[in-house]
Symmetry: C2
Subunit: 258 residues, 2 copies
């Protein structure tokens, strides 16, 4: 790892990238099934940000710091979920501060917001932990709870509870650099992958600007294959789709022979 | 990265660890919602293997190689999903071979199995790609398709289609070292996290052998908090649960006052 600042690695004007760091023993033990990765993936794709990597790590400070430092220098943004509550296993703020080499301060705005819904005597040490923000951080509000997430540098720290996380994403999204949204087209192949793999590869090689994937699924005892063409230039996507459809025509016809 | 062999890092007799490497652009774009991580997490927890980390990477060889090499030296096992089909974006076998510094060979058993359900003239170059296994690898069969995954060293390479992956996991599981299964107990807190955070932290500190987590969820407009106590010694888990229940009694009573 070098000391290069995140900015150096930020995407070009049309290529804004991101990673997600999911923090939580409960996901790794299987107790909680993550619902945030797929949501954030869709959300970022829709605003033209390329999600490039996801990591899920346990509630262990060194693991969080190390994953965060590996990712924040590689991608334009890193979104974390989980670990910002009041209990002893909520150590995300500490880990993020450590990763950035800064201290945590108690944010008066968060204390004030918490006091709007609780008596001063209920604002105990554990609850005050939720008001801690790394120095240099900005709050990321949400419409569900009084306790915000925060953003420091290119790292956006969000709650793990999906409804709160989703609201935080809505609050932070307008502040993000976004790229050209990908155009995506899907084709139902109707023939086995092995029959069109060579033809598909030819189209992919002719169009390095396109990302072409083939995705089998197994539904009700039958395989179904979907070809997905993605790219920043809608015209090139359309050309790719036409080439693939043309390539599939004789293969589909052959399927119906004999 | 050192040259240390995986065995050096394998868990102690009672601590068998694992990581999952999910390979696929379709998960990162949001097009496909992963269903494998949660399934594998439950499966491993049930057989006494600790899932410690998950990474999702795109269909890019260097990314797969680098993630695999980082994880295979740290954990007893690494399970990969995705990228073992016949199309150009299926590059998992190539990446795994590269990570281990070995060549791929065409496995005659896979070719024979494929020929059981297709004519020799249909066994084209793309389909033959699915018969490639890194030298030194063992096949990981499944009951759904004729194309197996494989295992090389401590890395188990499985399909991305959930039904096939699940069958591969069933086939490979009996060959794995397993640890002492964790005992897990859940407690419905019935009071806010901030009210019991200090008391819970005390119990956690008194029992380093226990992993104690507090998990808020937001259902039908209400927060619900669940405390989960996990540990290898069932007696210690029971003691932890009793201490937490005792700690909660006055807090629950206070909630009903006034």
């Amino acid at each position: 790892m070098t000391d290069t600042t995140p900015e150096t690695f930020a995407g070009t004007e049309t290529e804004i990238t991101a990673a997600i760091l999911v923090i939580g023993d409960e996901i790794l033990s299987g107790r909680t099934k993550d619902k945030n990765i797929g949501y954030i993936a869709d959300y970022l794709t829709n605003i033209g940000i390329d999600l490039r990597e996801v990591r899920i790590v346990p509630d262990v400070e060194d693991e969080i710091v190390s994953a965060l430092n590996a990712m924040r220098v590689r991608y334009t943004y890193v979104f974390t979920t989980g670990g910002i509550g009041p209990t002893h296993d909520d150590i995300t703020a500490d880990a993020v501060a450590k990763a950035f080499g800064v201290e945590l301060y108690e944010d008066e705005r968060i204390i004030a917001a918490m006091l709007e819904r609780m008596k001063p005597e209920d604002l105990n040490a554990a609850r005050r932990r939720m008001a801690r923000v790394p120095t240099g951080g900005d709050l990321v509000l949400n419409s569900v709870s009084r306790v915000p997430g925060f953003r420091i540098g290119n790292v956006i720290v969000m709650a793990g509870v999906p409804m709160i996380m989703q609201s935080m994403l809505d609050h932070v999204a307008p502040t993000l650099q976004t790229g050209v949204r990908l155009t995506m087209e899907s084709i139902e192949a109707e023939v086995p992958e092995g029959a069109y793999a060579a033809g598909l590869s030819e189209v992919a090689q002719a169009h390095p600007g396109l990302s072409i994937g083939s995705y089998p699924s197994y539904v009700d005892g039958k395989f179904k294959n979907q070809i997905v063409v993605r790219g920043r230039d809608p015209e090139e996507v359309a050309i790719g789709v036409r080439k693939i459809e043309a390539m599939l025509v004789p293969l589909r016809a052959a399927r119906n022979v004999g």
